[in-house]
C-alpha cells in the first residue's frame, strides 16, 4: 500500500520520468499505429522495429556516444532504407509483400545483432546499455530521454492534427486522393516517417520484439468501441497511455518485474477485453444476439405447436400436458422447460396444475407465426416456382424474422391469400 502511495505521489523523480516517458511513448505509438492498422500495414511496424537496430549501432560507431538524438537519427535512416527495400523488392520481383517484409526484417536484424556484438567486444566503455535497444529500458529512462520523447511526441501530434483529413483519405482511398491532386507520395512519405519516429522512440521502452504490439494492439482494441476515426485515435492513445502507466506501476511495486513486457500485457488485456465486451462489435454482444435469436425461435416454435395441435383437434383452448408437447415436436426436455417458462413469464401461456394452455395474446402470436410461415411458403411456391414439398424447411427459419412491413408486402403481393401450398388455411387476425 505504501509503495502505491509513493508511486502515485510522483515524489521520486525517477518514477516521474519512467511514468511520463512510457505514457508518452504508449500514446504516440498508438496514434501513429492507428493509421498503420487502417492501411493494413500491421507487419510493417514490426519490420521497422527490427530494421532500426543496425542504424542505431552504426550511429554509435560513428558518433562514439549514446546521445539519444544521434541514435534516433541512425534509427530513422535505417528504418527508411528498410522500407524502401521492402517496397523495391515487392515492386521489381515476383515476391509478395509479406515475403519482402520477412526478408528485410531478418537481414537487418541479423546485421544489427552482428554490429552490436562487435561493439560489445570492442572494449568501448560508452557502449554499456546500448543493448537496451533490444529489450527496452523503460525502468531507467532519464530526464534527457523524456525531453527527446516529449519533443518527438509533440511533433507527431502536430503532424497528425495538421494533416488529419488528408491522412484519413490516403488511408481510406489513396487512388481517389491522387486523382483529386493531393500530394499522395508526400503524404505516404510523412506517414512512413512518423511511424519510424514512433518506433524509434517506443523501442527504447519495450524493445524491438514488443514494439509492433505498441503500434497495432491499441488500434485493434479501439476499433471495437467506435466507428469514427477521430474517436478511434483518441481511444487508442488512451489505451497506450494507460498501459504505459500500468506497466511502470507494476515494475515499481515489484522491482524484479520489467516495464516493457508489462506495458504490452496491459495493452493486450485492454484489446482482448475490447474484442470480447465492446458493445455491438464485441464477441460477447454477438453471442448475446445469437442466444436471443435461439430463444425467439424456441418460444415461437412452442406457440406454433399449440396452434397446430389446436388446428388438428379443432380446439385451440384445450390444455396440453408437458408430455404431449414433448412428443409432438422434436424438443429436448430442458429446452421445452425453459421455453415454457419464458412464455409463461410473457403471459403467452398459462399453467394450470400439470397442464399448459394458450392465452389470448399467446394465440394471437401463434397465429401470426403460422401466418408468416404459410405466406412465405406460398411466396416461394408462386414467385420462386418451388415445389410445395420444397418450401417447408425454408419457411421454418424465415417465419421468425419477417417484420410487419415485409408481412404487409407479402400480403399485398400475394393478394391476401387464404390457402397455402399445402391447402392449409392462412389465419388472419379477426378484428
Amino acid at each position: 500500500m505504501n509503495s502505491t502511495l509513493e508511486f502515485l505521489s510522483f515524489s521520486d523523480p525517477n518514477v516521474r520520468f519512467v511514468v511520463i516517458g512510457t505514457m508518452i511513448l504508449g500514446a504516440t505509438a498508438a496514434m501513429v499505429g492507428t493509421f498503420s492498422f487502417l492501411r493494413k500495414r500491421a507487419l510493417v511496424g514490426d519490420a521497422i522495429a527490427h530494421s532500426i537496430l543496425p542504424g542505431v549501432c552504426l550511429s554509435f560507431l560513428i558518433s562514439g556516444e549514446k546521445d539519444p538524438l544521434w541514435l534516433i537519427l541512425g534509427a530513422i535512416i535505417s528504418g527508411w532504407v528498410s522500407l524502401l527495400m521492402i517496397d523495391g523488392i515487392s515492386r521489381t520481383t515476383k515476391l509478395k509483400n509479406d515475403t519482402a517484409i520477412g526478408i528485410v526484417l531478418s537481414v537487418f536484424f541479423g546485421a544489427g545483432i552482428l554490429l552490436m556484438t562487435m561493439i560489445q567486444h570492442s572494449g568501448n566503455a560508452a557502449q554499456a546499455g546500448l543493448d537496451k535497444f533490444l529489450f527496452g529500458k523503460a525502468a531507467s529512462l532519464t530526464q534527457d530521454d523524456i525531453m527527446v520523447f516529449s519533443g518527438i511526441g509533440i511533433a507527431l501530434i502536430v503532424i497528425v492534427l495538421a494533416l488529419y483529413k488528408e491522412f484519413k483519405l490516403v488511408s481510406f482511398n489513396p487512388d481517389y486522393a491522387k486523382v483529386i491532386g493531393l500530394p499522395v507520395k508526400f503524404l505516404e512519405f510523412l506517414l512512413a516517417t512518423i511511424t519510424i519516429l514512433a518506433v524509434a522512440v517506443g523501442i527504447q521502452a519495450v524493445g524491438v520484439v514488443l514494439m509492433a504490439a505498441l503500434l497495432i494492439t491499441p488500434a485493434s482494441g479501439a476499433r471495437y468501441w467506435t466507428d469514427r476515426l477521430g474517436k478511434m485515435i483518441i481511444i487508442a492513445s488512451l489505451f497506450g497511455a494507460v498501459s504505459g502507466f500500468i506497466g511502470s506501476y507494476i515494475s515499481y511495486i515489484a522491482p524484479s518485474m520489467p516495464t516493457g513486457p508489462w506495458v504490452v500485457m496491459a495493452l493486450s488485456v485492454l484489446a482482448i477485453g475490447s474484442i470480447w465486451f465492446a458493445p455491438k462489435r464485441g464477441v460477447f454482444s454477438k453471442l448475446k444476439l445469437s442466444w436471443q435469436n435461439r430463444d425467439k425461435i424456441l418460444t415461437e416454435n412452442i406457440l406454433k405447436l399449440f396452434y397446430h395441435l389446436g388446428e388438428d383437434e379443432g380446439d385451440f383452448e384445450k390444455p396440453r400436458s408437458f408430455k404431449q408437447l414433448l412428443t409432438s415436436e422434436r424438443f429436448k426436455e430442458l429446452e421445452l422447460t425453459k421455453g415454457l417458462k419464458m412464455l409463461k413469464k410473457n403471459n403467452l401461456l398459462r399453467k394450470k396444475g400439470e397442464t399448459w394452455f394458450i392465452t389470448r395474446s399467446g394465440f394471437k402470436e401463434a397465429s401470426r407465426i403460422v401466418r408468416l410461415h404459410r405466406l412465405w411458403e406460398l411466396y416461394l411456391n408462386q414467385r420462386l416456382k418451388l415445389e410445395p414439398d420444397h418450401v417447408h424447411n425454408d419457411a421454418e427459419a424465415i417465419e421468425h424474422i419477417i417484420t410487419p412491413e415485409i408481412e404487409s408486402l407479402l400480403e399485398k403481393e400475394l393478394d391476401r391469400p387464404t390457402i397455402d401450398p399445402h391447402r392449409s388455411k392462412i389465419p388472419y387476425p379477426t378484428e
Binding site: K165, L169, F172
Partner: protein, 258 residues
C-alpha cells in the same frame, strides 16, 4: 464537331509487361452520357485509370477539355469501383462525401461550413441525405455506390468518370443514378461510365465506346449498336494481337522503342 470533353491519342498501357490497351484513340463530345462497353478483361478499368493518371502509359496521351489532367483536375471527378476500398473503415457517410471537397489548396485547413452544405446537397441529389451520419459499413452495396457518386458530385466538376457504378446495385439505386444522369446532362455535364452489360447499355447511354483491348468503335449509340461491331467487340480477342502481347511479356520486351 461539338466540344471535346476527352481525347485519348494512341493510348497504350501494359500491366506486368503485358499490353492491355493497344493504341486507343478517340474523342468524346461534352454534354453527353457516354458508356465504355466491352467484355470482361477488355481493359475498361485500365482505360479509366490511364485517363486519371493512376497507371503509367507506355505511349500516347490524354487531353481533357483540350488540356493536361494536372491543369483541369478541378473540372474532373472520378468514381472508383465500389470494391476498391474497405468499407469497414471508421467513417460516416458524411465523412466520405466531404472527401470530395479536399483540395491540394486546402491542405492543413479544416472543412468549412460551405463544404458541408455542398456535401449535404450532393447527398440529397442521390437520395442519401438521411443516411449522412450512418457508418459506411452499414450501407447496402447500392447505397455505398450512391455515397461514392455523392462524393464525386461534391467536387463540382464538369466531367465525371465512373467505374462500373451499376454493378451489384439495387433497383432503387439504378433508378437514382439514371435520374441523376439526365439531370447532369441538362446541366451540360459530361459523364463517362464503364459498363459491362450490353443489355442495358443502349438505354443508359447516348454515346458508346466499344472496347476490347483495342478500340472497336466509338460514336452515337445508333451507329454503334449493329451486329457486326458487337460481334467484333464481344466475339473474342484478336488472336494475333493477344499472341503478340504474350510474346512481349515473355521476352520482357519494351512496347515502344523508347
Amino acid at each position: 464537331m461539338k466540344n471535346i470533353a476527352l481525347e485519348t491519342h494512341n493510348l497504350t498501357v501494359s500491366y506486368n509487361r503485358r499490353p492491355v490497351l493497344w493504341n486507343v484513340d478517340f474523342e468524346l463530345p461534352s454534354g453527353q452520357i457516354i458508356g465504355i462497353i466491352g467484355p470482361n478483361g477488355s481493359g475498361k478499368t485500365t482505360l479509366l485509370k490511364a485517363i486519371m493518371g493512376l497507371v503509367k502509359t507506355s505511349s500516347g496521351y490524354v487531353k481533357i477539355f483540350d488540356q493536361d489532367l494536372d491543369d483541369v483536375r478541378d473540372r474532373v471527378s472520378y468514381v472508383p469501383q465500389r470494391e476498391s476500398v474497405d468499407w469497414d473503415f471508421p467513417a460516416s457517410v458524411m465523412d466520405v462525401v466531404l472527401m470530395g471537397r479536399y483540395r491540394s489548396s486546402n491542405l492543413f485547413k479544416k472543412i468549412s461550413q460551405k463544404d458541408k452544405d455542398i456535401a449535404a446537397e450532393a447527398l440529397e441529389k442521390v437520395g442519401m441525405l438521411e443516411y449522412s451520419g450512418r457508418q459506411i459499413n452499414q450501407l447496402s452495396g447500392g447505397q455505398q455506390q450512391r455515397v461514392f457518386i455523392a462524393r464525386s458530385l461534391a467536387q463540382g466538376a464538369d466531367l465525371y468518370i465512373m467505374d462500373e457504378p451499376f454493378v451489384g446495385v439495387d433497383a432503387a439505386t439504378e433508378e437514382a443514378i439514371l435520374n441523376l444522369f439526365s439531370e447532369m446532362k441538362k446541366e451540360g455535364k459530361t459523364v463517362i461510365v464503364v459498363h459491362h452489360d450490353l443489355q442495358t447499355a443502349k438505354a443508359y447511354f447516348d454515346w458508346i465506346v466499344l472496347l476490347n483491348t483495342r478500340m472497336v468503335a466509338a460514336g452515337p449509340k445508333e451507329e454503334i449498336f449493329n451486329e457486326e461491331l458487337l460481334q467484333e467487340a464481344y466475339g473474342g480477342k484478336l488472336n494475333v494481337l493477344s499472341k503478340v502481347g504474350e510474346l512481349v511479356r515473355e521476352k520482357d520486351f519494351p512496347i515502344r522503342e523508347k
